[in-house]
Structure formats: C-alpha cells, structure tokens
C-alpha cells in the first residue's frame, strides 16, 4: 500500500531561517495520524509542503504517490484545512459551498448540505460573522465534501473553546471511520489527538522523535501509561536540539 506521505531529507528555508530541515518521515495510509510537536517544530511548514502551498528548498516529498499539487486531479484528492481556518469573510456559507462545488470534481453536495443542517448553519450567513467553531466546521465541510483520499488538518482546534474543539474532533473521527480515508491532524496538544488518533508522529526541530501506532507505543513502554507522558518523553530525549 502506498504511504500517504513520504518525505526524504525535506527542507524549507524562508529567507535565512530554516523552517524545516532534513526531515525524513513516512505517514501510513488509512489511519488517523496525529502530528505532535512544540510550536516552531515545523509542523505547519511540513503540511504546507504536503499540500503544495510551499515548495521544498531541499529533499523530496511525495503525497499519495505523487509530488504535491501535481495537477488538478491530485489537488482534488487532498483536502486541507489550514491553521486558523481561513474563509472569505464577505462570502456567505452557501457561497463557500458553491465555490467548493465549482472547484472540485468529486464534490458531494449531499454530504455538504447534510453537514450544514446538522451544524445549524444559516446558508445566507456571511462567513466573517461565524463563530470560530462554526468557521472551523465550515472549513472542514469544504475539505471533506470534495471527498479526498487524504485529509490534512493544520492545528484546526487551536483557537477553539473546549466544546467546539470536542465537536470538531468528533466530526473528524466520524468522517475517518465512515470513509476510511487517511487523516493527518497536527497539534501541539497531545490531549487533542489522544481521543481520535491511532498513529502518532512526534516532531521536534524538524526531527521525527517517535512514530508508531498508539497501541503499540503504549504496549512497548510499561512505565508510561498515558500517551501524553510518552510524547513528552520523546520530545525531551534530545535536549539542546530544539529549534528555539
């Protein structure tokens, strides 16, 4: 089976600063994968490279077996919810769905409208007037109604209150189970991921400190009972190498 993401010696420099350097990792397909790491570890850069919003300065990355954003068909297979869930403030909820329908060949209109009514979003509401939680749900709807094979979520719950956070993660878990797609979810909080992730990758200063299925990792380490402890231990293993 093709891995969802394969990165080899991947690096990205902005000006003089390396946001990501020499990153080698593999993200298996068919799981909900948590990408954990402190702020500045390079998570957003890695995900931007994966969706083609950024191009590598060094190394290679392949997504679903092809270079990121290599053509419209490939773009249609990857759903992305960016950090802070950007939407067009002046465009209505319905306008966003129209955009999704127009731009994505695999758009599932039924799925989109079902979710809108579940969430109780008024289609005429301007996206700029939605709450943070509603905006995140709208962005998630756009990303999943295009029926991607891979869904990438960059810190989608970071700015949400606990209730909205829970609703959002539950929605993601539901989609992952229902459609059997690969989901990559980044966060700097392990607690966010613990509930829904079956696989976890710990990234610190561009380096993969730990990677594996949650069950196997917990089983292998008898001393530590919580994922939280494991992740923090992995982050601490290489002192002095942190990005900042």
């Amino acid at each position: 089976m093709i891995n969802a993401i394969e990165a080899d010696g991947l690096g990205k420099r902005y000006g003089r600063r390396w946001a990501l350097s020499d990153c080698t990792l593999t993200v298996p397909a068919g799981q909900v994968v948590g990408l954990v790491g402190p702020n500045g570890a390079g998570k957003t850069t890695l995900l931007h490279l994966a969706v083609g919003l950024a191009t590598p300065t060094s190394g290679t990355i392949s997504v679903l077996g092809a270079p990121p954003a290599s053509g419209a068909a490939h773009l249609a297979r990857v759903g992305f919810v960016a950090q802070d869930t950007p939407v067009y403030a002046g465009l209505s909820v319905a306008g966003h769905l129209r955009m999704g329908r127009a731009l994505n060949p695999g758009w599932d209109d039924g799925l989109a409208s079902r979710r809108m009514s579940q969430l109780g979003l008024d289609p005429r509401q301007r996206a700029g007037r939605l709450s943070g939680g509603q905006r995140a749900q709208l962005a998630l709807t756009l990303a999943i109604a295009k029926t991607p094979d891979l869904l990438i979520l960059d810190e989608p719950v970071a700015s949400l209150d606990p209730l909205a956070r829970r609703d959002f993660l539950e929605a993601v878990a539901e989609i992952a189970t229902a459609r059997g797609i690969t989901v990559i979810l980044s966060s700097h909080l392990v607690a966010d991921l613990e509930r829904i992730c079956g696989y976890v990758i710990v990234l610190t200063a561009s380096r993969v400190r730990m990677a594996g299925s949650v069950a196997a990792l917990l089983a292998a380490d008898a001393d530590r009972q919580a994922l939280d402890d494991l992740v923090i231990a992995a982050m601490r293993e290489t002192p002095g190498q942190e990005a900042r």
Binding site: G52, T55, A69, A82, N104, G106
Partner: protein
C-alpha cells in the same frame, strides 16, 4: 470554475456598471442640447471636461480596486490557503480570474469611452482638435484598462499587500501613461515634416514651456500653421542643410532682441509698441533669408491608426504583465 468566477466578476462589476449607466443617461439627456452650445474659443464645456476625466480615471480605478486586491488580498488574509488547495491548479485559478476581470475592465472602459465619444462628437467636430482628447475617446481607454488591471494584479503578486499594491499601481500607471504620451505616441507612426517659409508677421519671440519647469532659452516662436485636426508635435527653425537656428546665430542677426525693447516673453506681440513690432518683423525677415520653418505633425487621417496602434501596445503590455503574474504565482510559497 467559469460559472463561479463569472458570477464573482458580475457582482464585482455592479458599481461600475451602475456608474456607466448613469453616465449614459446623462449623456443621452444632454446631447440634444449640445448643438445649442456653440463652442467658444478658450472656454470648455464643464460636462465635457468631467466626462473626459471619467474616461481617463476609470482604468486607474480598475487597476487599483479590481487588479491590486485580486491576489494580494488572498495573500494578506490567508485565504490563498483555501483557494489554492481546491481541485484546480493555481495557474488555472489565476488565468480564469485574470481573463474575466481583465475583459470586464476592458469592456466597461470601452463602453464608457464610446458613450463619451458619441456625446462629445459635435463639440469635438467644432473644436477641430481631435488629438487634444485622444486619450479620452475611441478605443484606447480599453487598452489602458487592460494594462492598469494587470499592472494592479502584478503589483499585488509582488507586494503581497493590497494597499501597497494599490498605490504602486496608481503611481506606475500614471508614470507610464504620461511617458508614453510624451515620448512614444509622437513616434508610433513616423511623423510628416513640412517646410514653410518663415512668416515675419506671425512669428514671435520668447520662451516656451510649462511654468513650474525651467523654461527653455528664449527663441523665435513661429505660429502654428493651420492644420485642422492634425497633431503638431514640434515646430522648428532650420537652415537649408537642416541645422537648427542657434541662439548665437539669432543674436548675431538680430542684435538687441529681447533686451528690454522686445515683448519679454509670450508669443503674442500684438500689444507691443509699433517700433518693437517693426524691429521684430525685420529680424524674422533677415533670419528667413537662410532659415525656414519645419513643422512636424501627425495628419488628421492618422487618428484611428494611432488609436489602434496604441491599443495594441497597451494590450500587449497587459499580456506580458499577465504572464509575469502567472509565473510569479506559481512560485509563491
């Protein structure tokens, strides 16, 4: 994609369409009365001036308010992360938006210009100076609009900030238009040169130039020949072998010229005392023995060829800028 983008283009164009419709109504309502307004020399019709300004300003507005934000706002607000991760390549996304809003800018500028051209045609005919309103009539405004729009998009792609892009667009657009007007348009088609004998009774002496700028050294100023609707780009005085009349040559032939006795500056010598007029007359007659006047101009018949030529150049520049935008946008990130 086309349906969605067309819808957006239509929504975005509404204010401009409404404004142009108002102009059309005003034009249709006032034009029948134009025949009564006999154009008085030196006095311009206020409405004619206002409509001309609208035609000149519209392309700049299209560049600032449609072009500059097109990409810059996406980058500024972060929505590019939404737009460029849909099932469509960035290139296609930009090509569709560039062509739709670019065409809208051109069509609206053309509509506005043609309305104003039609409205002003009685006044323009009577004025016999079609090149004076060259930039505000006919088809060239469509070229300016295409250029200003893509200039705005390019400024937005490079500056990545809407406000900076808007200001850059305005400054560069004005600079290009003015430079083109001064240095390029007169040479688009090689001008006609006509040699005339110097006419002592219509040649003055003085400096030419706009007041805020340092004026050229005073020289003989032959009156413009009567070439209705032609564009006279320069009037010079040259010898038989083509050498221009120098200041020292003039001073040698006409000693005392301009030294307190003459009409200091200005082309008119009508108010000058008779003695001054006579000495001026004699001076020009003496110069006229070995020098003659050369008028460089674009004949009236060149008006439409020049309109097409200028349109093509501006549209060509717009295409180059569009290519630059596409190339840069592919490399963002």
């Amino acid at each position: 994609m086309m349906g969605l983008a067309s819808r957006q283009a239509v929504i975005q164009s509404v204010p401009a369409v409404v404004a142009i419709a108002i102009v059309a109504i005003v034009a249709a309502a006032t034009r029948p009365h134009l025949a009564a307004l006999e154009p008085v020399a030196g006095q311009d019709n206020g409405l004619r001036l206002g409509l001309g300004v609208l035609v000149v300003v519209f392309p700049a507005l299209a560049g600032m308010f449609w072009g500059a934000p097109l990409v810059a706002r996406e980058l500024e607000t972060g929505t590019f992360r939404l737009a460029w991760t849909q099932g469509i390549t960035r290139t296609r996304w930009l090509v569709v938006r560039l062509s739709l809003m670019g065409l809208a800018s051109m069509v609206l500028a053309l509509a506005l210009s043609l309305i104003v051209t039609w409205w002003a045609s009685p006044l323009d005919k009577a004025g016999m100076d079609q090149f004076a309103s060259f930039d505000e009539r006919g088809i060239v405004p469509a070229g300016y609009a295409a250029f200003a729009f893509t200039l705005g998009v390019a400024a937005g792609v490079l500056a990545r900030r809407t406000l900076t892009a808007m200001l850059t667009t305005l400054v560069v657009f004005v600079a290009v238009r003015v430079s083109f007007r001064i240095w390029v348009r007169p040479h688009l088609l090689s001008p006609v040169k006509e040699a005339l004998a110097l006419n002592p009774s219509s040649t003055g002496y003085g400096s030419s130039g706009f007041l805020p700028f340092p004026t050229a050294a005073p020289a003989l100023q032959p009156a413009a020949p009567d070439l209705p609707n032609a564009w006279i780009t320069s009037i010079g005085i040259v010898s038989k072998d083509g050498a221009p009349l120098t200041g020292s040559e003039l001073a040698r032939t006409c000693p005392g010229l301009g030294h307190g006795r003459g009409p200091g500056s200005g082309l008119s010598h009508r108010q000058a005392p008779p003695s001054v007029v006579n000495s001026m007359h004699d001076c020009v007659a003496r110069i006229g023995v070995s020098f003659h006047e050369v008028v460089t101009y674009q004949p009236a018949s060149r008006y439409w060829p020049l309109q097409w030529y200028e349109l093509a150049l501006y549209v060509g520049a717009a295409l180059v800028l569009a290519g630059l935008c596409l190339w840069r946008v592919r490399h963002i990130g």
